[in-house]
Subunit: 253 residues, 2 copies
DNA sequence: CAGTGGTCTAGACCACCCC
DNA sequence: GGGTGGTCTAGACCACTGA
């Protein structure tokens, strides 16, 4: 579930503030701090962990940005209601991945190069050629999403070197999204999303066990790395009877 | 466009880090830092503004979390591609509001109380009674969104005291969302969203100039304050030919 | 090697809240 | 008035980058 929270990116020594925020996360989800019961103060944690107050503040920063707690000057730090009990999908790519890991990948068309000027343009490519793959995601033996994945040819060629990506058919617990960093050497930093509704065409209806004309949820995602380089464009069609997109929106950036 | 960025919540003295981050935002959007040209280092800004390095770091924190820049240890700080030229909708409630301010509100049903056990439950109310209003959003004289707004009775009664909310018909540049904090005394901290696609029923089709059975985008938003108290539930139906929901997703929380 | 950002310390002053 | 979180300082050490 949790990926690499104690800010110690797999291998590095854990940071002091990561240790503190992780301890507080555990206590929060264990229900140690009911409503109106403040968390320990900065001073208390500072003494308890033998660190400076600034380090404790750094730990609280993370908890606030995750929406787990809120802080009131003069009063204290409090757990956000429901944060202990319910799932908090904040709409990050990590969330997408952890959901996808419970599903299976059904490759309909392995990676191949095609000439698609419009797609190439959206990927910021000079040439018309893009690498494309078509696949479905399966949950409980039922397909709920049809995806066309488009990639820069450079990335596409490396994807094609992966045996599973050349093999049509079912690949349990596999996600293309986590292959991108592996083959490109670039970590995904975010994605621009465009969400709309359309009517299912023949292809979509067939792939998702629906009928032509049924409403489907369409989500386009344009992935980029931290420098803004475009890594992939995925066009997803969801069967709304089997999937709803849920996430949490914050008040401001 | 920008709301209250220089962390000086309307009236308070501007903070040092807010001044610095705001200056950098202006320079970034003016294109002062092309790709591969690093922003000033922490040391440079620290000397230039006569502040400590930690204060400069605090300024950079905001820019990073907004996705405007990324930082590489040992190399420097760089502008994210496209961040100067394109709109960055990060999917916050502030973004929702600034978009809605360019549209008009058409009230179909003023606030009134109804018994809706399911809605009341979603709002976490003990009683069955909720306050409800129905309205459309209009852009370029064309309705693109039909909304059922549901509120706790306490908030609904105060909403009903506002003259515009009692008057059916067109109210230019008005948003219900910004009334909520005014009448409830509670700032909206976030919302849980559920997005799906449905077929238009008679009501939705009539309100959005569509036909029965047309695909529509449905977005449910459950708003809460920082303490997790539920403030409103809005059920929105969008005409997909006139609206697509766009926002940016980050890699992790 | 000098320079970068990442972490951390041990102080300080302030506005605000609650008693 | 004592305690809270918000801001800020002036140092320090580290891992990592690039020339």
């Amino acid at each position: 579930m949790r990926s690499g929270h104690p800010k110690s990116h797999s291998g590095g020594r854990p940071t002091a503030y990561g240790v503190i925020s992780e301890k507080l996360r555990r206590e929060i989800s264990a229900g140690v701090y009911p409503r109106d019961v403040p968390l320990p103060t900065e001073m208390e944690l500072s003494k308890e962990h033998q660190v400076s107050r600034q380090t404790v503040r750094r730990a609280f920063q993370d908890l606030v940005s995750e929406g787990l707690v809120y802080r009131v000057p003069g009063r204290g730090t409090f757990v956000t209601a429901n944060s202990g009990r319910y799932i908090r999908s904040t709409g990050t790519i990590d969330d997408l991945l952890s959901l996808a890991r419970d599903t299976d990948l059904d490759i309909l068309e392995p990676v191949h190069e095609v000439r698609e000027p419009l797609i190439a343009q959206r990927l910021g490519l000079a040439d018309d050629t893009v690498a494309t793959a078509v696949f479905r995601r399966i949950h409980d033996d039922r397909p709920y999403c049809l995806t066309q994945g488009h990639y820069p040819p450079e990335i596409g060629r490396k994807l094609a070197e992966i045996p599973e990506m050349r093999t049509p058919g079912l690949h349990p617990r596999m996600t293309v999204l986590e292959l991108i960093p592996r083959v490109s050497g670039r970590a995904i930093a975010g994605a621009d999303q465009t969400i709309t509704a359309t009517a299912a065409d023949v292809t979509v209806a067939a792939a998702l066990d629906g009928n032509v004309g049924d409403p489907v949820l369409r989500i386009d995602r344009l992935y980029f790395d931290r420098a803004g380089m475009l890594l992939a464009l995925s066009v997803n069609h969801f069967n709304p009877e089997r999937y709803a997109y849920r996430f949490q929106m914050k008040a401001s950036g």
